[in-house]
Structure formats: C-alpha cells, structure tokens
C-alpha cells in the first residue's frame, strides 16, 4: 500500500530472529532468555532437555521424560471459484515433563522453552508424583527400558505445505472447485458446486528421557476433503472425494491428487443419490466399501483393543471396550470369522500415527492384533505392557510396549493412542463389484460415517452413497438408511472380503482422555460383505 508497508514486508521476509534485549521483568510471559525458538534437531533443545531431566532426578524421580512440540496448523476452505477463507491459522508450542516417583506419575507443561521453566516443570511434576504416590494403590512399572532412541526422522514428503505460497494454495483450490462447475452434465437440469476444505499440520517433536533417549521428529499431516453437490429440481445429491482423505504427507497430497479423473464418477454418483428411494427397513446383506470399512475397523477393533480402555482406565472419559480383559480371561476374544486379520503399525509412510519412535522412546514394530478372527494382541504403552507380562509370556509374545505412547502435543500428557491399522486383504483378488455380484438382495454402502457407543459395542452406519442390490446388480439408490450393528454379531456375519488391489487407507480422528486429546491414526481396509444386517430408516421413531 505504501512504502512503509513494503519496507515492513521486506523486513519481515528477511528477518532473522533476534535475541531479546537484556532486562525485562519477571512477570509471566516476559521472562528474558531464549527469544530464538529452536526447531527440532537444534542442540539448544538438547541442553534444555538435559536441564529438565536433571531437575526431575534431583527431585526424586526414578524416570522422567520431556517433550518439546511446535505445531503449525493452517486450514483453508474454498467454497467457490471466487472466494476462500481461512478456517485456522496458528502456531503453538509446548514443553511437558513427566516424572515417575515411587511408582506414580506427575506431569507439568507450559509454553516457555527456557532453562528455568523446564526445571520448574520437572520439579513440579516430581512433587505431584510424590503426592499421587502417597495413596499407594497402584505402582506403575515401566519394565526394562527400551534401547536408547537417538536420531532424527521426518514424515517423507516432497514439499512442505508451509513453504507453499498462499496464492498457489488458493489457485489449486479454485482449479479443483471449477472442475465441478464446468463439468459436462450434458442436457441435464442441474447446478454443480464443490467445496474444498484442507487443513495442514506440521508438528516438530523432540523427546528425551532418563533412559538416554533423544529424538527429533517432524510429522506432517494433511486433512483434505472435497465435497461435491448436485442440485436438481427434485433435490440435492452430495458426494465426497475418496481420493482426498486425511493422511500423513505434504503439499503433494493435494496438488498431485488426480481429482480430475475422479470428479466424473462423483458427479454421476451424486446424481444417483438425487433419485434415491426411501429405505425399507429390513435385514439386508450389506457390502461396505473399503473407505467406510476403515471407520468400522477403527472403531470396533482399533479402539476396542486399546488395553487401557479394556482395563477401565478410560471409563470416565472415552468409555470402555466390549472386548474383555485378557488378564482374567482364559480364552482369547474371538470374532468367529476366519476372514478378519488386522495388523498394527506405526510405519506406514502415509499413516497419521507413523513415527520412528513413540513418546516413550520405544521404536514401534508391526504386530498382529487379530489373526483369523482371534484377538491376539493389544495396544500398549510401557506401563500397560508390564500389566500384560504374564499374558504375553503365555502366548509367546515379547513383553514390551507396542509403542503406542503419544500425546496430542507436549502440553497434553502422554497416554495410549491408537496405532495405524491394516485389515489384511483376502487371499483371492476379489473386488468390491465381485462382492456385490454375489448378493441376492442387499445394499452396497459407500463412504459415510460409523458411530459407536461408549463400549465400542453398538453402532450405526450412515452411508453417503447407498445402492440397492438385487440379484447381484445395482438397481438404484436409497436414502435415510441407517445400518445398526452390534460388533461381535457384525463381525460374525462377515462372509467375504476384498482381495489385493481393493485396499483403501484413510486417516481417522478419535478423542479420548481427560483432559480430552485428539488421536490421529490411519486405517487400511478392504471392502466386506456382511449377511443379514439390520437396516432402519434413520428418521423413523419408535
């Protein structure tokens, strides 16, 4: 606007961070000290970490760990070809210290990365732990320490979204949104529109523990969604992109998405939904597409096999699990279907829960969670793993943490968060269409949402695109359908799954803990056929 502003901008863009001047007072937020906030991998953080751990030990901790996080988040919504708006724009820092004294935890966190502050947090955490230990009802056992974790890691990306100019983000979005308005609908009477919503996150994490760990990791996550609507005289149909879904990655996730190839299909499917008939409540054989299966697997298996939930540690918050505790059960939990195999990992390159080391310095490995329909392992952290010592021993499994310790950021306490999951494809190369072809009377449900109750037991499936199947063929679409299920019965009714080539992986977000934390993880799944599922009209009352 004026030279003043241009000069200002020049100064900003060329700015090197400068240290604060001397002086300043001791009031909160104005402490002198490090003005230059280091990024992951900076030696300054190692010093700070050492300070924190020393202070914790001095205050009596037998174990302590400290995390530093710097989280940059930007959200952009593109509702039309002429507008855009930011839904989020922020950068948050945190440092958190956990201390274990006499078998009890204490935790303290703040946003100030100074030597005095980290020492204060460490001392505070230790003091808390002592108070908590006084009750003596439980003794946290961490088990043997993991191999010392040292090094750096970053989500493999091609381009950091936070280095992409805003203009390019907007233009890319507008190009995607215009795909809808110029889409060739022939002579049909319809108005097409699309909204693109994207959130980019970059979290730099530094972890150090009294076990000698020091790791620096940077995680990139992107949560895009592309929602297309077709407005016709008879009503509006909506469909969202299968390609653009939450995953770890950089700018290329959005920019290189072949959305152009997908839009025609989305448009035609949205057209079909405008012609939908109302669902007739009944029991149907249901084919669920891989995308919706990711949610079903996430919520009925992924979270249900979190050991803390099973043991009742989440009872007052996220709830419990219908899967019984392995500790007091003789028989493992079985889903009564040989088709279900689920593996956990934190290594899938595009997985939202993917890291090299977890927030206890453990290097997670892949492990089976469900094999041939039987629950064979659970998600654990170090202390939860020691609770399973006997059980692991009986089943020939290594008794160590499966590496699921995570906190949303350093301000939130480390807890058990779900890892990535993969529902393994079937042995044959069955496709979604082939599953449909095998159904005499049923529904095919594509995309949508799954919700479950506090025990992950009863739930509802609401499909975005629901086809009616008769004699192996799709004969139309239905609306207002809601499939009701009870997890064990649903999995028992699993009669077919997709094979190689039918996999789909997407990010899931759940909330647990008190105070509440957000958990991000990715689930890969294949389409599946379930028999005799109860499907109701979601608008119908008793």
């Amino acid at each position: 606007m004026s030279p003043t502003r241009r000069d200002f901008l020049k100064t900003i863009s060329a700015a090197t961070l400068s240290l604060a001047g001397g002086g300043g007072n001791a009031l909160f937020g104005l402490l002198p000290g490090i003005d230059l906030y280091p990024h992951a991998g900076d030696p300054a953080l190692k010093e700070l970490a050492a300070r924190a751990l020393d202070a914790a030990r001095a205050a009596g901790a037998s174990y302590a760990d400290v995390r530093f996080t710097l989280t940059r988040l930007e959200g952009l919504r593109i509702p039309s070809v002429h507008s855009y708006q930011h839904t989020a724009d922020q950068e948050f820092a945190g440092v958190g210290v956990r201390a274990l004294v006499d078998g009890a935890w204490g935790f303290a966190s703040s946003t100030l990365w100074t030597a005095d502050e980290v020492a204060r947090l460490a001392t505070e955490a230790a003091v808390q732990a002592k108070h908590n230990a006084a009750a003596g009802r439980r003794r946290v056992e961490l088990g043997p320490p993991p191999a010392p974790a040292n090094g750096e890691w970053q989500t493999p990306i091609r381009r950091d979204p936070f280095t992409v100019p805003l203009a390019e983000k907007i233009e890319t979005g507008w190009a995607f949104v215009e795909l809808a308005s110029r889409y060739n609908i022939g002579a049909r009477n319809a108005n097409l529109g699309a909204t693109l919503d994207t959130t980019w996150e970059r979290q730099e994490r530094t972890f150090a523990s009294t076990d000698g760990a020091f790791t620096s990791q940077t995680v990139y996550r992107v949560t895009p969604s592309y929602r297309l609507s077709v407005q016709r005289p008879r009503g509006t149909g909506r469909r969202s992109s299968d390609l653009l879904r939450p995953r770890a990655g950089g700018w290329e996730v959005l920019a290189e998405a072949p959305l152009r190839d997908e839009v025609p299909r989305l448009v035609e499917e949205a057209f079909l939904m405008t012609e939908a008939e109302r669902i007739v409540p009944d029991r149907y054989d249901v084919v669920i597409d891989a995308r919706l299966m990711t949610q079903l697997v996430a919520l009925t298996i992924g979270t249900a096999t979190e050991l803390d939930r099973i043991l009742g540690y989440e009872a007052n918050a996220g709830g419990t699990s219908y899967i019984a505790s392995p500790i007091d059960q003789a028989e493992p939990y079985a889903f009564d279907t040989g088709l279900l195999n689920v593996r956990a990992n934190r290594s899938q390159p595009d997985g939202l829960a993917t890291v090299r080391w977890d927030d206890e310095g453990v290097e997670p490995e892949e492990y089976d969670v469900v094999r041939d329909g039987v629950v064979v392992d659970y998600h654990t952290t170090r202390e939860l793993s020691t609770e399973l010592a006997a059980w692991h021993g009986r089943h020939g499994l290594p008794n160590r943490s499966r590496g699921c310790a995570a906190g949303e950021d350093a301000l939130a306490v480390t807890m058990l968060q779900p890892p990535n999951l993969e529902m393994l494809p079937g042995a044959d190369a069955t496709t979604f269409d082939e599953l449909v072809a095998g159904v005499k009377k049923g529904l095919a449900i594509c995309a949508g949402t799954v919700t479950v109750d506090r025990q992950q037991l009863n739930g509802e499936i609401n499909g975005e695109l629901v086809y009616e199947i008769r004699d192996g063929k799709v004969v139309g679409t239905v609306h207002s359908s809601e499939a009701l299920f009870r997890a064990p019965e649903l999995w028992r009714s699993l009669k077919g799954i997709g094979g190689r080539g039918s996999e789909y992986r997407a990010g899931i977000t759940v909330r647990k803990g008190q105070p509440e934390q957000v958990c991000h993880f990715s689930v890969g799944a294949v389409p599946a056929l379930f028999e005799k599922v109860a499907v109701t009209n979601k608008l119908r009352k008793a």
């Binding site: 606007m1 004026s2 030279p3 241009r6 070809v81 002429h82 091609r158 381009r159 992409v164 100019p165 203009a167 390019e168 907007i170 233009e171 890319t172 507008w174 190009a175 215009e178 110029r182 060739n184 609908i185 022939g186 002579a187 009477n189 005289p233 290329e252 920019a255 290189e256 152009r260």
Partner: protein, 456 residues
C-alpha cells in the same frame, strides 16, 4: 503489481532456465529419480491451462489493490494490461508441460487472455474433436462452455462465439436448456457491445427456445428467460426506445404463469416504473441538500436537463458504486458549463454501527463529508430521511419516502428541459454509460420552453 512482479520474476526465472536447458539437465537427472522434476518447486503441477486459475487471483488482487501505486504505474498500466502481463509470464513458464484433453478449454481461455486467438480457436476445436464419440448433449455442453468463454474474453470474440452457438443450435431440441444459457450469454454480450440487432435476435431466439422446452427444463431456466427480457427492456430504454422497453416487459408478463404471484407483482411494478417515462417528473424531496450550486434545491429544475443517480454506503472498493461515481465525473466533465444538473440521492439509515442511533442531521453531515469531501461527487447531494417501523420480531421495515412513491423502482432518472421523465433504470449499469451520454446530448439539444408533457 506487487503480485505481478513476484509472479513474473519467479515465472521468468523458470522460463529462462527452461530455455537455456539448465533446468532440462536437472530435469533429466531428477527424472531418473522421480517422474516429476518440477515436483518440489513452486507451482509444480501447473501447465498453461492452469494459468486460468491464476488469472482469477491476479485479477482480483489487481482490482482491489489498485491503490498501490508503488507497484502499478497509472501512466503505463491498466488493470487489464497488468493482469495480462502476469498471465503471459505464467504461460511462458509452463509452455511444453503436457496438458490433458479435458484441460484444452482452460488453455483456450488463457490464450484468449493473451490475444492468441488462432491458438485459442485451435485448442477449442481440438477439444471438440476429442468428443466425437460422445453424445450430442455432451457436445452441446462443451459448445456452451466455448461460447461463454469466447464471450467472457476481453474483448469478447463475438464472431467466433456466434459460430459455436450456431453449432450448438444445430443439435436441436434435446439441448434446449443449454441453448437458453448460451443465447443469454450472447444477448448480454450484444448489449455490452451495443449491437442492438444482435441483442434483439438473441432474446427472440432465447424466448422461442424457452417456450418450447419441457416443463421441468422450463422451470429450471425460468430465471434466464425473465432476466433476458428485463435486460432487453433496460437496453432499449437506455437508447430512448421506451416503447420497445415496455413491449419487452409486456412479453415477459405474458410468459409468467398465473400462479407465480411474486414474479407477477414484481414485474408489474417494473412496468409501472417504465410508464413513468413521458410523465412530468415530481420534485425531489430531501431533508438535506448539499452542493446545490446555482440551481438550488428545486430539482429537476425547469429549463435544465436533470440526471438523478443513486448512492450507496460504503461506496469504495466493492459493488459498482465507485464506477457510478467515476462515470458521473466523466459525464459532468463532458457537459461542463451546459444546462445539466446531476443530483445524487441517498437515504439516511437512522443508525450507525457501534454507536447510538444517529440523528438524520448527523448522518447527512457524514454523507456530505464522505461523498463531497472524499469522493468528490460531481453534483448535488440529496439526503432523504428514512422513516421506519419495527416488525414484532425486531426487524426494521423502512417506509417508502416521497421520492420512492413518485419514482417507484427508478434509481437512475433522466429528465428533460420540460420536466418530463425520459429515462428510468433500476440501477447503474456501466455498460449504458455511453448511451446515456448520447441521450443527454440529445436532451440538451432540445429547445427549452413551449412543448408540453405527454401524459399517457
């Protein structure tokens, strides 16, 4: 432009590198590692067609940051040339990047921007060529896009658009709904290009096609039919052919189904407004007058030509209020020293955001400072006081002012020396500025005194 210079510099750098082969070498090595050597760079994934998305943003920034004279030089730049220069830079950076067949129309749009008409026509032809095996209706939609792209170009490529439109028409009844849209675009372009014959022909064609549509498509395209006739009426009125304007409204009223009471009400009111032409103009009644000069507050003044215009608050960067004021300045300049009065009307609102209700005088003073002091409107300012009441749920309802009752929906009014209304319009359309100036010239040439008004 700040934006342009940044854009240009990065684009030109890449284009130069590309040309010198420096990038090509890097590309060759990189290609061995990854399929897209441009992947890590700014704007990777762009191709010449994608520059049309960039064009939108550049246009927008240029439009709203025109004040930034440190980057935009009024002597040599116009908003348009600055935009075009940026697009050229973008295109040049990506020449040679492969483009998909469904991006050919985007490429054509960019080529129209940069005045490569032959290339644009070829791109469009190429696209149609790829659709040979598609249904006629799908080819029709593509032709519609081509027609509207030609017409949206600056300047509009009317001849090429007409060719494409003829091809679309040839497909026939099955693409009636699409043809209505295309003829609408053509009629609007004709108005902008002062081609009255084309304008009338297009509206006739549109109405004929619309009346022959099936029921569902007729409803779907109803708004376009109504608006095409409304626009036709406005254009005829601006050229001093109010009889033809009224004929268009009559046509429209005959096409509205009897049960669409809302539309009937609205268009009958529009008709009544057009019928004000030929009647004696009622004196403007404002509560406060500013800058009335020697003419005084009796407006329209006898013996003088009067142009009455609306004003809005705010009147700067959005909407066409600023364009209205600029046009008024041009008009005032052209007719300086002649018997033309320009009067701007605005109503008080009665309330200012963030403060207590504003008394009318305070608002009027604000308006006079803003419009006369800052914007320097070239005419008198008439501030009418708005009286309002409240609905039970608290929403205010404005009462019509005396001028509302006298002038109905007319916001732009032209009155001749005898005090007879000769032109009315509901709003300011920048496209009609030149017609209006012709009209004013004509009215000023008419002798004063003697002739009586025709009261219909």
């Amino acid at each position: 432009m700040r934006y342009k210079s940044w854009y240009q510099s990065s684009r030109i750098t890449l284009a130069t590198l590309w040309a010198t082969g420096a990038l090509a070498c890097a590309a060759a090595t990189a290609a061995a590692q990854s399929p897209n050597p441009m992947a890590n760079r700014d704007f990777s994934g762009y191709n010449p067609g994608r520059c049309v998305a960039a064009a939108r943003l550049i246009e927008r920034v240029n439009r709203f940051d025109h004040n930034d004279t440190s980057a935009y030089h009024p002597a040599s730049d116009t908003l348009f040339t600055a935009t075009v220069a940026s697009i050229r830079g973008c295109e040049a950076a990506y020449v040679g990047t492969p483009i998909g067949t469904d991006e050919l129309l985007d490429q054509a749009r960019v080529q129209l921007f940069t005045a490569q008409d032959e290339a644009a026509i070829a791109s469009a032809r190429q696209r149609l060529g790829t659709m040979a095996s598609r249904t006629p209706e799908e080819r029709g939609w593509e032709l519609y896009l081509i027609v509207t792209d030609y017409l949206a170009a600056k300047p509009a490529r009317i001849d090429e658009a007409r060719k494409a439109l003829a091809e679309l028409d040839a497909i026939g009844k099955s693409v009636g709904g699409i043809r209505v849209l295309a003829h609408f675009a053509m009629a609007s372009a004709a108005i902008r290009n002062w081609d009255d014959e084309l304008m009338r022909a297009e509206v006739d064609a549109l109405v004929k096609i619309w009346t022959e549509l099936d029921a569902e498509t007729k409803r779907w395209r109803y708004f376009w039919m109504l608006t095409s006739l409304t626009n036709l009426a406005a254009a005829e009125a601006a050229a001093d052919r109010t009889d033809l304007a009224l004929a268009a409204i009559e046509r429209l009223l005959a096409l509205i189904p009897a049960n669409d009471t809302r539309a009937l009400q609205m268009y009958r009111a529009i008709e009544r407004t057009y019928r004000l032409t030929g009647q004696k103009a009622a004196p403007l009644e404002a509560k406060f007058w500013y800058n009335t000069g020697s003419t005084g507050t009796t407006r329209p003044a006898p013996g003088r030509v009067s142009l009455i215009l609306p004003l809005f608050r705010p009147c700067d960067e959005v909407g066409n209020c600023r364009e209205l004021v600029q046009a008024a300045r041009r008009i005032a300049h052209e007719f300086q020293g002649q018997d033309l009065d320009i009067t701007f009307r605005i109503r008080t609102f009665g309330f200012y955001a963030d403060t207590a209700p504003a008394p009318p005088l305070a608002e009027a003073r604000y308006d006079s400072t803003y419009f006369l002091g800052q914007l320097r409107i070239p005419g008198a300012l008439a501030v009418e006081e708005t009286k309002f009441s409240f609905k039970p749920d608290g929403r205010r309802v404005n009462e019509p002012t005396t001028d509302d009752l006298n002038y109905l929906r007319a916001r732009v009014v032209l009155v001749d020396r005898h005090g007879v209304i000769r032109y009315v319009a509901e709003g300011w359309n920048p496209v009609f500025e030149d017609r209006l100036r012709e009209f004013i010239r004509k009215l000023l040439a008419e002798p004063a005194g003697g002739a009586k008004a025709n009261i219909e």
